[in-house]
Amino acid sequence: MTAVEAPPAERVPEPAPPPRPPWYLRGLDTLMARRLQGRTVLAIVAVVILLYLVLAPLFLLGSTSFQTNNDNLPFAKGTKWNFANYRAVFTHGSTYTILGNTLVFALGSLAVAGVIALAFAWLLERSNIPCRSVLFVLVIAPSGMPLLISSIAWSLLLNPTNGVVNQVLDTVLGVKFNAYSLPGMIFVMGIGMVPLTFLLIVGSLRAMNGSLEDAATTSGASGVTTLRKVTLPLLTPALLAAFVYQFVTAVKDFDVPLILGLPGHVNTLSLEIYNNTNPPVGVPSYGRASTYGFFLFLLALVPLVVYNRAIGSRGRYATLSGRARRPVRVNLGRWRWAIFAGCIGYVCIALLLPLFILVWTSLQPFYSGINVAAWNRLNTAGWNNTFNDPNVIHAMKNTLIVGAVTAAVTMVLSAFISWVIVRARSRSVWLLDMLAFIPHAIPSIVLGLSLLLVYLVLPVPIYGTIWIIVIGQATLFTSLGTRLMSAAFAQMQVGLEEAAATSGAPLRRTWFRVIAPLIRAPFANGYLLVFMASMQNLTIPLLLASPTNTVMSAMIYQKWNYGLTTEATVMCVTLTAITITLAVLVRGVGGKADV
């Protein structure tokens, strides 16, 4: 046998590395070298689609904010490029009030949601509170109610004129709350953010290996010391992640300011954008709106980017085995049932009270609080009228079509993008990673406005159709989709795909025969989540509304705005029922996640 070759003596210790091409040729070089590889084609297609979906609107938003003209339309005749909009915005005193309101609103709701969610997470994961699985479902159940609808419900409960809770408080204590105020908005937003905050915290608490805490206990640390020295420090990155995420959620929110802030004259950035695009009188001022939009975008983007930098890109997709053992649960002793009763009390406030008032109102010819006269007026005429209205039926059809198509487009796109992000080992993946992440930082009001501008300018005839809503929502939900699918790919052994390649399967067949069947469960789960998010989304359909593309959420707002309380609440109850059903389905599919 002559296998021995290249004896050690002949070997060059370190071969000269190939010369590095200049930076502008590096990508090209890689590209040409790999021109036959399917994954490169996929990566390029994904980047191009994302560039179009994400950067085109942002570009138009940015450039509109530097334009002034008589028509107030982007790129209209006689456009001047200047800082006039910025000057107007910065010199106007109300801008600072608006900014202050936005920050107080976001931080306040974050505090409310954070405290409640943390308490629930600790109670359910680390204490012996009774009926844990029931409580778990009850805590996250309110997520089935969109903020638009809970804001309407709380407006019915806490408005200063005839809010039901105010009636009771006035009779008993002689005080009244005003839902149309900053504290009212903080309360509603805070309660609304509890389910997701809770899920984010409880997930990391559960994934944390209990032996770490048990090790502290066996080293002589008391329960409180363990919590302080071990549990919380270990949890800090996860808590920070959850809080940054939810802060941005609150900053971006438009539903609560629209329903509660607008009548109470509490202006936030999102509301100000809306007011400039849909002024009560006069023509829309897109330049001004874009300027505010740009601020809001930065306000959402900066915390997320800073945070991502801080934890590095590694932690983002980290998945834990879920096999971690739980530590010994803290015995609540005689407080056990009292605390449990407190939790149930919370659920009543967060879920049952709003649901009740919506159903009650939907059965009234007009809303007048709760009293004997109203009891005698209970009837289902509102339901009959609403469901006999062809416009409502049309809106329902639109909602389903938009939801189904948006979910399909989003998830297919997300699956390919995530695969490239997780599997491609190219250095240019960061671009894709960033492009898929930006939509999360684009407030939907900003995206809605930007899309409005894009399709005012671009000669694509989708303005006023449901397809513009689909495009907007698909852009918006791509970051959710890629988060889900990236987690799925990170958990899937890359060997399963490589085995297909070594068996002779080209990339296309690997996708059909191996990847697609294996990601079926997370894909279906993501599909339902996006479907749900699409139905709950108000901003995009409202900003891009036309008489023909109305969906349920937009129609609810329109009816509420015209004072058609009964019809609005009928649709609220219907939409809530649908989204809660979807939420249950998501859990069902999630349970069957492993093949």
């Binding site: 046998m1 071969p15 040409m32 085995a499 390649a501 070594t502 080209p506």
Partner: protein, 376 residues
């Protein structure tokens, strides 16, 4: 005849590895037809990277790879994995959980054949491969309903079913428990010899490497440090690193005091021999590699524990030293001793019938021909 695999000046640096050194530096080797070729080395030395380059799962930074007479990597030219005539077994099996055993094995055939293979022909091929692995009973099972060892066989069946030119195995036995591992080891050898398929095997386990291979390439830090047959590596390692890697070893330090010629045991070849001064006396070694020894050079001597002979009475030969038994461990097939000679501690493995008690005085023989010398 062309070699089955030829790897020339392979160099690979991972894209995301920052300023870490290259995963493989300059690896060259040739694997002949039907050979069982093993890449052996500690974890992280670049074995998997080399194998993945051959499979086309990595694109090397530079270098050339030929499979038979097909150049698969060379400069800009790169044949993607699915067009290479290979079969690969992954460390974690990578059997597809959404397919049955039959479907898993049928997959490569469905991918390869240009014309659609007749169902009966496909079935015949799949079943005969499964039979070879003793897996035909599980044909209809889901891959997830198999034990670790069965998944391993399935993975091997899938790699072999399309009769590839080259079989690539990445630590295929390392996820199995000890008993199963030795059984699969024997089976792997039987199947490879039976099919005569050229095989590249990656392992960090010296027993697997020595028992299975025709040829072993020992790797360290991205380089091949020695290439040879199992016996050569074991008895004549060229470096201390290789000596330690392929088996247990005692190391003794010394200084050359004289160099001369001596007859080897069987009398024919004349080799260099040397006398060394050590902390416990003079040691005589006969070693072809001692050729480069010069008087006064510092060096270390490797002796395998099973070459160390323990006597209760002095055999009156060279290289016998008086020592003391510090520890005697009966492990079944042998007795492992720890013996001290002055300051020096040596491991000695003796037949299981040997009985030395702790603290007993023994005569320790280090046969000159079993000593391997390395310059320091």
């Amino acid at each position: 005849m062309v070699a089955a695999i030829e790897v020339r000046s392979l160099h690979h640096r991972y894209a995301g590895a920052g300023d870490h050194p290259a995963a493989i530096n300059d690896v060259s080797f040739v694997v002949e037809e039907n050979q069982f070729f093993t890449l052996l080395g500690p974890s992280g030395c670049g074995k998997t990277t080399t194998l993945r380059c051959i499979a086309g799962l990595e694109r090397p930074t530079s270098g050339e790879i030929r499979l038979g007479d097909v150049v698969v990597v060379s400069g800009r030219h790169f044949v993607p994995t699915h067009k290479r005539d290979i079969g690969m077994v992954f460390q974690d099996y990578a059997v597809w959980p959404h397919m049955t055993v039959f479907e898993n094995v049928a997959f490569p055939l469905r991918m390869t054949s240009r014309r659609r293979m007749r169902a009966s022909e496909l079935r015949g091929k799949v079943m005969s491969t499964l039979e070879l692995m003793g897996m035909e009973r599980f044909e209809k099972r889901r891959a997830t309903q198999l034990s670790g060892g069965q998944q391993q066989r399935l993975s091997l069946a899938r790699a072999l079913v399309r009769e590839p030119q080259v079989l690539l195995l990445d630590e295929p036995l390392s996820s199995l428990d000890a008993r199963l591992r030795s059984r699969m080891r024997a089976e792997l050898r039987r199947i490879q010899r039976q099919l005569g398929v050229t095989t590249v095997f990656v392992t960090h386990d010296q027993v697997e490497a020595l028992s299975l291979s025709n040829m072993i390439a020992v790797m360290n830090d991205g380089d091949i440090v020695q290439l040879g047959r199992p016996r050569d590596l074991y008895f004549r390692p060229q470096t201390q690193f290789v000596g330690n890697l392929v088996g247990a070893a005692n190391l003794v330090h010394g200084r050359v005091i004289s160099v001369d010629e001596a007859d080897d045991e069987d009398g024919t070849p004349v080799v260099r021999a040397a006398t060394l001064e050590t902390t416990f006396g003079t040691l005589r070694v006969t070693d072809p590699s001692a050729e480069q020894m010069r008087v006064g050079a510092e060096c270390s001597v490797l002796v395998r524990p099973e070459s160390v002979i323990l006597h209760s009475e002095s055999p009156e030969r060279e290289n016998v030293f008086i020592g003391r038994v510090e520890l005697a461990l009966f492990v079944g097939e042998a007795v492992d001793h720890e013996v001290s000679i002055g300051e020096l501690m040596l491991n000695a493995r003796a037949a299981s019938v040997t009985r030395f008690r702790r603290e007993e005085k023994v005569f320790v023989e280090l046969p000159a021909s079993s000593c391997v010398v390395f310059a320091e």
